[in-house]
Every structure is written in C-alpha cells, then in structure tokens.
C-alpha cells in the first residue's frame, strides 16, 4: 500500500494538496500516481499568474511510458511552479510529497479545499482501483 500522509487533502485524479501557513496551497501528485506512471522524464508546471478553474488540466507529467495531465484541485492563481523539476523530474518519483511538489496556488475560494478527499477517503479510492 502506497503512502498517504494524514495531513494532506486529495483529489480523485491523484493530486495531493497541502494548505500552507500563508493560506496558499501546494499541489503535487501522490505516491500512488507516481508509481503508476513509472520513471518521470518531464514535468511542465503551469506558468505563474495563470488563473485556474478547479479540475482544469494545468500541468503535464510525462513518464517513460506516457504523458499525463495534472488537474487543478481548486480554482485560483498559480503563484509558483517547481522549476527544479525541469532538470530533475525524477524527484517526483523519489519524493512526491516533498521536493517533488509541482505548483503553488492562491485559492480563489478556500471552501473548495474542504470539498477535497481526506486521507482515508483517498486511501479507499486507491484500494477500489486495485
């Protein structure tokens, strides 16, 4: 069973969301997602300033196998993309919940965060997918 930290929120598309002290949120893909994708070779975070709608495709992660979209977990403005992934995309494999983060978003509506899955619900989702 892959790791699902208790203190994060999750989406059905296998993104994780962490609320930071300044009210922004950090977004990445889950351990389960990186495992399914295999070795990552390219990550393209959204440009800073992009206005995102929840569930909009906003970043691309490509593994040796295939290209996959990353979806905005919530609406808001992109405040930062993880530039370090340009040279070291494999960080998403090795540290998906840490240095492998993909983007930071300033939420448009914090109540959207409450609508995301908690760790238990996400774990159940992954178990269902087998």
């Amino acid at each position: 069973m892959s790791q699902v930290p208790e203190d994060l929120k999750y989406t059905r598309n296998h993104e994780w969301v962490r609320v930071e002290a300044d009210g922004s949120v950090t977004v990445g893909i889950t351990e389960h997602a990186q495992e399914s994708l295999g070795d990552l070779v390219f990550v393209e975070p959204p440009e800073v300033g992009t206005q995102l709608q929840a569930e909009e495709a906003c970043a691309v992660v490509e593994s040796v196998k295939a290209a996959s979209d990353v979806y905005a977990p919530i609406s808001g403005e992109v405040t930062q993309g993880n530039e370090a992934l340009a040279d070291n995309p494999e960080t998403v494999n090795t540290d998906p919940y840490g240095d492998g983060w993909i983007m930071r978003i300033q939420p448009a509506d914090t109540s959207e965060i409450d609508g995301l899955l908690d760790a238990a619900a996400y774990q159940a989702l992954v178990a269902d997918e087998g």
């Binding site: 070795d39 070779v41 040796v64």
Partner: protein
Amino acid sequence: MPQRTPLYDQHVGAGARVVDFAGWEMPLHYGSQLAEHQAVRSDVGLFDVSHMAVTDLSGPGARALLRQQLANDVAKLDERPGQALYSCLLNERGGVVDDLIVYFRGGDAYRIVSNAATREKVRPRLLDEARQAGVTAEARDDLAMIAVQGPRAAAVLEQLFGDQAAAALACKPFQAADLGEIFAGRTGYTGEDGFELIVPADQAGPLWDRLTAAGAQPCGLGARDSLRLEAGLNLNGHEMDEATTPLEAALGWTVAWEPEDRDFVGRAALTAQRSQGVAWRLIGLVVEGRAPAREGYVVRTDAGDGVITSGAHSPTLGGPIALARVPADAEGEFRVVIRNREAAARRVKPPFVRHGKVCV
C-alpha cells in the same frame, strides 16, 4: 485468457509490473525502467522474450521455400551453418507482415524467430506454405527464449558455462552456436553485445535464476523499447505494418534484389514502387527540449506533414528522440508538434546509441 511464458513466476517474484502485450502477460518493468535501461548500456540485463515465435523448417525444399517467402535471400546463408539473416516477410502488396530472424542450422534445417504480435498471422502462413511444399515445419512452443544483453553479457555466459560456452563466445554478431542444450545466437534488440538463448521451456526458470544470481538485471518491455529505439531498430506495428513497404521503413537494405529471377512474395509490388519512387522515408530525429515526442505526434516539414512512429525519452542522450515517417523529399527544418507548441528537431541517421556511446 492471456498467455504466460515459462518465466511468469520469476517476473512476479521479482516484483514486476505485469502488463498485457499481444495477449501475453509480460513484465513492463521491475521497479525502474531507467535503471534497467542503464544496466544494459553499462553492465548486463536479461529479457524474457519467450512470447516470440520459434518455428523450425527442414527438408529438401526448405531453402527454396524460404527464398520464395522472404524478402531477404537465405542463399546468403549457404555453406555458413550458424549464420543468421534478418528479413521481412511481405504480403503481395509489398507490405510488411513481419520482420524476423532466420538461422541456418546446417544441412537443410532453418530456425525462424518471429514476433509475438504477429504470431497468429505468420505461424499459420509458414506452416501452410511448408505443408504445400512438402517441407517439415514445427511450431516450437516447447521452447523459451532469454535475451542476455550488455557489455558484460559474454563475461556472464563464460562465468556460468566455462569452456562449454566457447563456441557461443566465438560467435560474431548474427551467428549462433549450441551451448549444451541451449541454442545461443549473438543477436539482440538493444544496440549492445549480447545473446539470445533458446532453451527447453522447463529449463528457462533455472537458467533465468542463474543469470540473475550472476548479476544480470531483469529488464521489462519498457526498457526493451527505449533500448531498441536508441539503437534505431524498427518495431513492427510502429515503423512498419502491412500497408508499409520495407522501402518506406528504412529496410531497403534487407531486400535482396539479386538474383533478379528470385520471385519472392511482394517482389512485383516493391519493384514497381522502386521504379516510381518512394513517397515516404523513415528518419531519426533528435528533438529539442525535454518533453518526449511520442508516437502519433505530427512532424512539420517543408514538404508536408509526417508522423512520429516511435518516440521516447532517451536515457542515454537525456532528451527526446524519435523515428518518424516523413515525405521523402523533406530537406529543410523539422518541427515536432508537442501539444500546443512546436519543437525543433534535428534529422539524424540512426542508431542514436551503439555500444554505450551516443552516435548522433
């Protein structure tokens, strides 16, 4: 119900991610495709290729049958037992039904190794043609096949088999020899030195275990694909298919035009295409940036659009490489459409990588 090779338990035991490939449950990778790729480039890796089809032909008519069926000419193997030949098997339109390796086993005996994905087409055709020609043909599904690939492949065989391996180790590329009960060909699909070992199915597991104990890294289909792409080798169903001729797939060198009176299947169509001019050609591309340029992506050229037939991240080059089918007279800039933008690409002559070295 998908089929399993005799090595299925080895794959599961080693933690493989198993996927369906042409109706076979095969390992995609055992944890990291990149690590497996690197093992073959710098050390030694193992592949289960038992899903490929081994067919033995023998009898006085075998040579004539193969000269009529294959686009390359098995007469090149005369007097050279153990020699192998790469050839396409064509349809009457000159399209590629399969690409295969035929080994001459001496006397009037030949061994053909053809692709898994085309097994249901190629096998019946060979068996049927053989029956009509009075040639003995045997589908050798009692055999398994393991590819040992990488700069340390020969050392591993020597370590495991000692003097018994002498004949196999003396083989040049595209030659085969017996290694005890093993039929060992110095062939492969990676651009590295290596051997393909054909063994009785019940010996495959123990042999695999001995090879891994000697340090060979099990490798899945993922690494097999990225290695063959770096080596500039075609994959049937991607670079060629039944609507693509060898001349459109950079395989013109495998067509034996001489002697002119050898009337192989597809010859008339190929001859007509050659005289009219070939509209498409297969080229290698090194693509700028980091985003992989994948199969199906459009390639813009000064002579019209082409398409990527295989594309991936090259672990050795550290960026995207591709094979692409483009208009034959495209000469200027090549640009690959990757999602919403275009990336410049440099046309190169494959292989991209050979014997661990970048060559483009």
